[in-house]
Amino acid sequence: MDHLAPSYRLALRLTGSSEDAEDLVQEAALRAFRFRHTFQKGTSFKSWFYRIVVNQFYTSTRRKRHTSTTSLDSLADATDIFLFARSADAGLLRPDADPSANVVSRMAEDDVARALAALPDEFRAVATLYFMEDMSYNEIAEILDVPIGTVRSRLHRARHMLQKQLWTVAEELGIVPSASGAGAGDA
């Protein structure tokens, strides 16, 4: 049960719901039990189990025909250093400012989770593995069973999508001035 807490964290950020996360961890545990003979001694149990969690997540989302609430198109044009550029445009950056005093630091945990939940499944999966644990790209590639180059490119895009979505959430919350000029906070 050593991996219970991190597995639940992973499941919660993948599904976005505590109920679904509990079900996902249970389904993954049962599957791991049934297929325990496929685990190779000397390899990482955590990676093996996380792979089951992620695959089970994909299976359940396909079954429920769940899709993220935000279309890929609306996030696809997120550019490099999106938050930095937007923060600079909004006059929220000063050269001498504490780097931790960024937009994200003023958002609640649930708001950050809401932004992550808006990412399309395959991008949310790679981003969740990345943010939940200090894993290398290679470890993430093993879990997702994809080439390391795919991890790098998906993660790169996922981070930019997330930054764009974070800015949208920050606009909704009035933490930053909205593009329309309405409901802007005095940030």
Binding site: R34, L93, N102
Partner: protein, 82 residues
């Protein structure tokens, strides 16, 4: 092998890999050499590092429900008996 000095664009392109410690030693060295002399890029890198730390800290702040362990034990026991 000596690399040419990176431009701002080349440095920012390596931002993610640098923060994730995925660059090789030579590339990492070149990024750091650029940051030593470019306040603008240094400011960007610090901003991104700060955002990354905030995201990790906030997304990791989760505790599993107290009854989850017993729920799993029950489910596995039932599976084992079946």
């Amino acid at each position: 092998m000596t690399l040419d000095r990176y431009t701002c664009l080349e440095t920012v392109r390596r931002l993610d890999d640098y923060l994730d410690r995925e660059l090789n030693i030579a590339e990492r060295h070149e990024v750091e050499r650029h940051l030593e002399t470019c306040d603008r890029c240094l400011h960007r890198f610090r901003f991104e590092a700060g955002v990354l730390e905030e995201l990790k800290a906030k997304l990791r702040r989760v505790n599993p429900p107290e009854n989850l362990a017993s729920r799993l034990r029950d489910a596995l026991r039932t599976e084992g008996n079946g």
